[in-house]
Symmetry: none
Subunit: 478 residues, 2 copies
Amino acid sequence: MPKPWATLGVDLHLEPAGGGLRRGLTDALREAVRTGRLAQGTRLPSSRSLAADLGIARNTVAEAYAELVAEGWLTARQGSGTRVADREVIPPTGGAAAARAIAPPHAPARPVPAPRPERPRPAYDLVPGTPDLSAFPRTEWLKAARRAFLAAPNHALGYGDPRGHVELRTALAGYLSRARGVRADPDHVIVCAGFAHGLHLLATVLRARGLKTVAVESYGLPPHWRQLTRAGLTTTPLPFDELGTNPGELDDQGAVLLTPAHQFPMGVPLHRDRRATVVDWARRTGGVVLEDDYDGEFRYDRQPLGALQGLDPDRVVYLGTASKSLAPGLRLGWMVLPPTLLEEVTEAKGGVDTCGTPDQLTLAEFLTSGAYDRHVRAARLRYRRRRDALVRTLATHAPHLQVTGIAAGLHAVLRLPPGTEQSVTQAATWQGLALHGLTTYRHESATVPPLDALVVGYGTPPDHAWAGALEALGRVLP
Amino acid sequence: MPKPWATLGVDLHLEPAGGGLRRGLTDALREAVRTGRLAQGTRLPSSRSLAADLGIARNTVAEAYAELVAEGWLTARQGSGTRVADREVIPPTGGAAAARAIAPPHAPARPVPAPRPERPRPAYDLVPGTPDLSAFPRTEWLKAARRAFLAAPNHALGYGDPRGHVELRTALAGYLSRARGVRADPDHVIVCAGFAHGLHLLATVLRARGLKTVAVESYGLPPHWRQLTRAGLTTTPLPFDELGTNPGELDDQGAVLLTPAHQFPMGVPLHRDRRATVVDWARRTGGVVLEDDYDGEFRYDRQPLGALQGLDPDRVVYLGTASKSLAPGLRLGWMVLPPTLLEEVTEAKGGVDTCGTPDQLTLAEFLTSGAYDRHVRAARLRYRRRRDALVRTLATHAPHLQVTGIAAGLHAVLRLPPGTEQSVTQAATWQGLALHGLTTYRHESATVPPLDALVVGYGTPPDHAWAGALEALGRVLP
């Protein structure tokens, strides 16, 4: 039998990188496709034969293939094996605009290397975390930008308040007060570039105060935990039971990061008694509560529970963003801070405003003109319908699977039969469906027994792709 | 015992709404508080007695109370029961929009506290650092925003590359290459929120690498030095003589911050031999050069000297911004980094993009469409005329005072007779003229003999105030 690798005629330079063999293999294959050494349409050897050829485990090859399928470099079709994807699916690299920039009419430009292609997107995307970007109200946003920008005084374009523009802080304080029960004085609002930026600033401040540990939830977003460890903090998960996160074991951690309105990803609100427990703990120990109110706008069955911050604005830092309600690309978030933290967080920001005047003033105008409310109402309806469709489809086609959590947000948790999560997500990857299992969101030190489930982000697909995404989901369910 | 509800004298209209009894009760109570029917400070009946009175479960009342406490309408304190919160502690409601959301259109909105008055601006402003904000090309900017935003693919609104949008990095690489001789690969460009943000990130990285000291110039911007000390670094000034900053004494500092094209504020370019000395030092010692190219676009007598970065992109970090060429309020800056620093700086950014998509894409469009070049050309002409007017005025009315530095930038240094600087700046303050003496920009550890001079920022006043500012300056000169 000829060596399958030899058949490909590609030299892999397979050196175990930091991430080990799998990472090395993935990188080498990606590079081979990117540079064209592996031509479009080339059929790759089966994972079994390539593994034998390279003398490595079959799983290692299968995982590398799966990752490259998810990234769009390879395609996998039942019956036709794994092939190098057609170039058409790789997004453009800047094209005409780039050419114009590089070669101005009169100056001989030095050559600028083309930017790397962005990671290709899968056919369907049910990964939670991003709203339907096709529904972003572009025209309304541009109108608000025009109104806000033409009305702004000249000095609004100068060096501004490090906390952010007062127009935006005032609009946010009003909005958060009425919509989320936040006790917000515009002076205590700090505009930041999204949740991760806000958490990064708070982590820096807490570390500088001498904190070593932050309690987090057993389930959550690993990038948020990494944001804390990046600042030198250790994260310790709180227990999780049928009532949700249990803060009863909070001790001397100094700070806790929670999603009280709608636990991410489990989808339950923090139990009333436990809200009180958290605040009591903070008062007793001088601890700080970081409240991640990531999708507080989206509750479908009743009024959302007010923010935990309303219980004790001196102990709770409220964090919110426009990332779910409008778009992550705006990079606009906000913190409502206890007065004792204001100065330190401003310092951590480098003592300067980090968000652009045009975008800040546009959001302020969006909020005060009512455009924000209108957009959120329409989005709520859209996501509610999607959630209903998801629940209906599952009730019909997979009645043995249970959707858990409250009717809220942009994602649902779908319980799977024990032991099936990995095979379902793998099948999804092979079908070009981006889909995360619950395991992705489980803290590595969590003591809660592992649970097989999917976290289905129904907010992400554009309307035209929603039915297809739902069908693709149906095909991979057990 | 009187009915507690009767005691309150409030008609609840307690009809089970969609959300059931609890929802109905919560809404009715909120409405009663909002409209003032339940006055501030009113103590509510215990949940037990109100539940008995209404004939509903105690839990229903307790939950309604808890929710309203969470929302800030009620307060609950150990020992004093549940009360209607003081109006003062309820944050503003955002005026018209809020009134629409909470209350029917005819209800009077709760007053919104006025934002704190900003620091009053002087009658005339000759402090350097800000361009003429009245000349910001608002209409052009909005047009570019419209073109860029309507053409952007949906995914441009998602979570982006932590380095910034590839369109902007590509446009910047092209622009910096032709306009400033920067050797820029879009992959090595990181978009940041202005110079201070970029320096903050670099200082964090250098400190984490173990650096203790950064060499700076004897004259410079104290906020930049503070940005370094904030990160735990010490700044040591290099000598300054008639040829400008002298890097000959660079030793084991590990990094140096320079303004090579146009020393700020002294206005001289870094001498050719000294450019070579700096790069030699960096190569010999593994040191890093931070090049602050703050006004490289504005040279009036000849082509500006290319960026120092062009001499050795592996040793020099290039920093530029839109703050002088467009406006500081855009909060858009850029770094071109040696590959070895890329990952660390991205990490210091928190691993996320910090600048908004609309503003980033607009600047990219501004650069590639030629609007940026047109604006810079017009600004160059405006500032050159102002500089000429300043020099002419001084030659006529104060021929004993010398304007030093090259014909460039947005400020000039005006030498004063020894011992007069303080009295001149004091006189200016009394006349409502914002004006800085050179002392403001002298490093406290500088060994260069103090020099009496003014740093006149002629870029700041709007056109209509320029003549007045010049006159005001004339009145305070010795």
